[in-house]
Amino acid sequence: MPEGALVGERRITYDARGLAEPFADVPKVSEIDGTHARFDAQDLTTRTINLELRWLVYEMGMTEVEIDNPGSKHSLGVGILTRCKITFNGSLGYFGCGLIDGPEVHITGRVGWSACENMMSGVVVVDGNAGSLTGAALRGGDLVVKGRVGARSGVDQKGGTLITLGSAGSMTGFMMQRGRIIIGGDVGPGLGDSMYDGTIYVAGKVKSLGIDCVPGEWTDVDTELIERKFRIYGLGSPPEFQKFVCGKVLYNYDTLEPSERKLVL
């Protein structure tokens, strides 16, 4: 551990390249009660918070962890690949809960950019707002934001469901490939631009559709999905939604090899 990078110290230290805290030890400051653990992150750094969390769920076998005062620090709760319950009592910064596979996470504050990027499975519920790129490259699970989300949310989404009760910014669902985006409020310009597949539901106004994003035909399956998600997460009665899908004219959606295509053309 370099000089100055003391465990528990709030000040972040940097190595010669400007990278924060290259070395740290598990602080082991949690109060443990059976399979429930709780610790205060106020005076911990990003790295020591994550080390503590991983120690609790992987080595101590905790199934429920509460983290107080996360203080909008970045990259908290990333890479948790096991089923457990995690509660952040406060807000997270950028890249919160990225690359997770399995946990059930509750964030009582807000999250910054790129929350739950590349999430594989599990559930994340955010009580406040979320920044841009929320659920980027989401592959599975449910990400529920009770406030609003920023621009390019659901970009490159490959599965799972992103729900926001508030509005969404520009280029939401940009290059989306699979999965569902459910927007309870208005959405900015370029909705679903260059999407390959997947479904976007919008209850409010759409400023403009992106390239190859078109209105879709509403079916009973859509009604069942929306009602189920709202019921599971206690979001009240769902409003009336419009459905948008890929028009499938932008990209080549046939399965021809280049040599076969020459024959056809």
């Binding site: 940097y14 400007g18 924060a20 203080g71 909008s72 620090k73 970045h74 406060g90 807000s91 910064g93 950028y94 504050g109 807000r110 910054g112 950019w113 406040g128 707002n129 920044g131 841009s132 406030g147 609003r148 920023g150 621009a151 390019r152 509005s167 910014g169 520009s170 280029m171 900015g188 310009p189």
Partner: protein, 311 residues
């Protein structure tokens, strides 16, 4: 990448904005370790103009004549101010190459700035009755200590940490930029402007001067041009969204206002906290939490938003 921050108090009282902006910028050091800059708005209580200027860069090669040359040029600055009728009050040597001078003056500010900058290596960093721009190489704590900002109290401030991409690591390339020759206006920016050269040629033909090769300087000079033609800060910022190309989020300040603008892609981050007491904005929420150690409700402004607050 770069990081930007701003804070404006709504009660009109003096607050420790030198310390607060330092805490905000230091928490975003990872966004830009090359240089750090501040535009601080003090009380301007005696009505004097304050000019911050430099006569060399922090990394200017120290040749045998360096110290003597600085002394000669500094004397020349004060001599030229006096020749224009300025009554010089205090002169502070903040570093061997950066100075702060206060003076009484009722004449043309453009003439004064041009006359000072006619001296070799001289650059006016800021000129106004409340605005003071401080910028240098290194992180916020380094610049804060170097320039003694702990005693600076005021109503509002903006700041910038720079990761140099398109121009040199030097003070000229550091933000904030003063909106020469418009007094008390400054800008910090995160992003890239793709029609920089077109606007630079256009504004140079209109008589504006540029002191760096940094694209961000365009915004300050552009706003100065618009405001000198009668636009309000908010009007000029709205117009900039149509006339400046690229991806950008910038903060502009006048002696009474602080405004933020985001381009149509909203590609550069900004987090906003607003209360009855103050407005704080930053590239990352962690910077706001550096001065407000409680849970706060924040959000990201959307594309093409221009928001302006009064102090």
């Amino acid at each position: 990448m770069c990081g930007i921050a701003g804070i404006i108090y709504r009660d009109g009282a003096q607050h420790p904005i030198g310390d607060e902006m330092t805490r905000m910028l230091q928490s975003m050091k990872h966004r830009g370790p090359d240089s750090t800059g501040y535009a601080l708005y003090g009380n301007g209580e005696n009505g004097d103009l304050v000019m911050r200027y430099k006569l060399a860069d922090a990394n200017t090669p120290r040749d045998f004549d360096f110290t003597d040359r600085l002394r000669r040029h500094r004397t020349e600055v004060e001599s030229r101010l006096a020749s224009l009728g300025a009554r010089i009050g205090e002169v502070d040597e903040e570093t061997p190459y950066a100075f702060r001078v206060s003076f009484e003056y009722g004449g043309d500010l453009k003439l004064l700035a041009d006359f000072v900058e006619d001296i070799p290596d001289a650059e006016v960093l800021s000129l106004g009755r409340t605005l003071e721009i401080v910028k240098d190489l290194g992180d916020a704590e380094t610049v804060h200590e170097q320039y003694g900002l702990s005693s600076f109290r005021g109503t509002h401030a903006i700041g910038h940490v720079r990761m140099a991409t398109e121009s040199e690591v030097d003070i000229a390339g550091a933000h904030p930029y003063w909106a020469y020759p418009y007094s008390d206006v400054a800008v910090v920016h995160n992003g890239q402007l793709t029609n920089y050269f077109m606007w630079r040629r256009r504004l140079e033909r209109a008589g504006r001067r540029f002191m760096s090769e940094c694209d961000s300087e365009i915004i300050a000079v552009y706003l100065a041009q618009e405001m000198s033609e009668g636009a309000t800060l908010e009007e000029a910022m709205h117009k900039s969204l149509d006339e400046l190309d690229g991806v950008f989020t910038y903060i502009a300040v006048t002696k009474d206002e602080l405004g933020v603008a985001k381009d149509e892609l909203a590609a550069k981050p900004l987090v906003l906290y607003e209360s009855d007491d103050l407005v704080a904005i930053a590239s990352e929420e962690i910077a706001i939490r550096a001065i407000l150690e409680r849970e706060i409700d924040t959000y990201d402004p959307y594309e093409r938003e221009v928001l302006v607050w009064q102090r």
